[in-house]
Symmetry: C2
Subunit: 422 residues, 2 copies
């Protein structure tokens, strides 16, 4: 086995995990490196942030998923640098030589040069981010309940979500549902139903990657849930008490960031050309120009197809993972690689209870049927038999009770009364 070619895969998200699985029967040994111990089903991360699901519902240990694939070693570690000349990756603990490298370290939310906004407007990419947002959201309702001054109370009941893409829409819709339905009977001095939830989008419409008619339907559904949508308005400042949209001010103690991503900084170390978001421009087979043994996939890869950028979504990452596994097999067998082609099966976004939009090309629909379709698709693609059953049960439960079982504040935030407690 030590004589087999060594494939190092950095990142255990959709791209890296699908590449690893597709190499199951290839004559290689694989080392999959991730800085966490789990694969995360990111499309449902907003549900953890909004206290509807627990972390283990949408995450599974990578070594558990891959336990039967004996040629794979999972290593919890963090890549610090890549030397493509020496074919070696330096990790936080040691280093690894490779014959083939698959870089799948994804993207992180970014503040477009306004890094001081990070403190006031947390983003959502990891489970830790989700638990942080959950704490901020639940603590805002707690602070409103304690507050005697009505102006300050209204500020605590103000929420701004920045970014009208799928994550922003999901957060805004779910938050509105929590404020209207899950909490009201439980507070004595404040009324969560008086929460004001704002969704801010700099572009002309929400869900810009969808056809215009579905953006309009999403807007209607958001407004019906009680979300104030501000399109065509860019954020100019964020502080602890609210957000400035040019001349306009929105008072809100809780601001969430769903507006932009930047690629993993590892991409820049390859010496290849990157786009503005830091994504690596790859060859048509997803390899690096001049380095046929290095592949870049998922959110970190910049590739266009028919004049349009391949989107940074889970299906694209999975398809790229499977493609590089085929490319590595072809190289080992001495054959040629084929160009990657993204197959777009459709696009869907959820908004809230019985509210979603679905675009399957010829077939477009919204409302309750779209929501049921979204539910089925997401639960179906969840990894692990157990998780599927549990998540389905959670949703049936919360659909009928309006309750969100994970309303537990964990950790100690800056604004938390727990701070400095031991």
């Amino acid at each position: 086995m030590p004589d087999l070619p060594h494939v190092v895969i950095l990142g255990g998200g959709f791209g890296g995990l699908w590449a690893t699985r597709a190499l199951a029967t290839a004559p290689v040994r694989v080392t999959l490196v991730d800085r966490t111990n789990h694969h995360l089903f990111q499309p449902l991360l907003y549900q953890v942030a909004m206290a509807g699901l627990s972390s283990p519902d949408i995450a599974a240990p990578l070594r558990h998923i891959l336990r039967g694939q004996r040629t794979v070693t999972v290593r919890m570690d963090e890549a610090r640098s890549i030397d493509v000349g020496a074919r070696r990756v330096t990790l936080a603990h040691g280093s690894l030589g490779y014959d083939y490298l698959v870089l799948a370290t994804g993207a992180r939310h970014a503040y477009f040069g306004n890094d001081d906004w990070a403190r006031h407007a947390p983003g959502l990419k990891t489970l830790d981010d989700a638990l942080h947002i959950r704490r901020r959201m639940l603590e805002a309702f707690e602070a409103a309940e304690r507050e005697e001054d009505p102006v300050a109370q209204a500020e605590w009941l103000g929420f701004v979500i920045i970014g009208g893409g799928p994550t922003g829409v999901e957060l805004a819709g779910t938050l509105a549902e929590i404020a209207r339905h899950a909490l009201p009977r439980e507070f004595r001095h404040s009324d969560p139903r008086r929460s004001r939830i704002h969704l801010v989008e700099a572009g002309p419409r929400v869900l810009a990657s969808m056809p215009e008619v579905l953006s309009e339907r999403a807007l209607c559904q958001l407004e019906r849930l009680g979300v104030s949508v501000h399109t065509g308005q860019a954020v100019t400042a964020i502080d602890a008490h609210g957000v400035d949209l040019g001349e306009r001010r929105i008072d809100a103690r809780t601001v969430l960031w769903a507006a932009g991503v930047a690629a993993s900084p590892l991409g820049a170390q390859l010496g290849a050309e990157c786009d503005r978001a830091g994504r690596v421009k790859v060859e048509c087979d997803l390899s690096l120009a001049g380095h046929p043994e290095v592949f870049v996939i998922g959110d970190l890869a910049a590739i266009t197809q028919d004049g349009k950028a391949v989107p940074g979504v889970a299906p694209a990452a999975k398809q790229m993972g499977a493609h590089v596994a085929r490319a590595i097999r072809a190289r080992i067998a001495g054959g040629a690689t084929t160009p990657f082609r993204y197959r777009d099966y459709g696009n869907l976004a959820t908004i809230g209870r019985m509210a979603a939009v679905v675009d399957l090309g010829k077939l477009r629909f919204s409302g309750a049927p779209a929501w049921l379709f979204w539910l089925w698709a997401h639960v179906f693609f969840l990894i692990g038999f157990r998780n599927r059953i549990v998540v389905m049960a959670e949703w049936i439960w919360s659909y009928f009770t309006y309750q969100r079982h994970a309303r537990i504040i964990l950790g100690r935030g800056e604004d938390s009364p727990n701070r400095n407690q031991d």
Copy 2:
């Protein structure tokens, strides 16, 4: 309603929550203050630490539990000081005057003057503690897998649990089960079955509060699970690489503290006599000498009955909570209070899969029947219909699959490769 006497209850554990519930029909308004937003079912906290249950499985938001009790206000806040003369509690955010005060802020683990041990040997009292221990435990197996030096690897596979009470026994037994059954197939370079799990107890036997025969049976069951038990040996030093027991050294990168508790520092502010652990010596009706309007209950109260200290266990705290509710009703009605009497229904401790001991006075048993009895008792007493079903399902699942679904590393530890990542 503003004219009704105001009862302030500090702490939403078993004592405080049971007092609140028992005041449901009393002519009072109640404010329940807790620094977290949830009631925690502490007897199952070790299962969260050992990755068998998720946080929301054993915690429920206090406001959700009490939503129907309209005379109760739940306030997430932290008591900073108590002025018994002015009948006022100062909180982190504002203050509260009271007519009756129930102090139920419990205890915290303590290191008997060796505060520097806290860094190396985390204790287990809150959900945050449990997630911290979970991370340390799972990261140790990850580090062992990365380690090429066999001596260093063995150090990562060494675990010491200090304290042979119920928590220590539960942690040691469950950890042995994880190392032997849940993990082995998933590692390539290390063998979790080679873990050495040590349980250290300064006294002559484990589970000292149990009859001697049950301590012996617990010892047998622990050893059968592969735990090395060291009784009569006091810890003299703890560092990042192990533990000293006088002359003897145990190498271990993971050390857990289950050896002692100290009462909440609020007790000392009452001006009453405290015992060595900081617990407040109370009158026979649980009130404070000279202050019949102040009550101290649960782990914070020091009271003896028939020459023995009432133990710091959940049933005692619940009974005290119900008792002070009766005492407050009696005072308001102009009547006299009665002395508190603790009814001991029995004592039980779990060790691991099908291993437990039960002492019901005349009836004592161990092994599989004791484990099933323990399981039934704990699931039965869990708050909330939903939690009972979910926890039961988790256990049936993990009993047959040997899997622990919550094996997700959250947060960033000192030793974590995630540190300094954004």
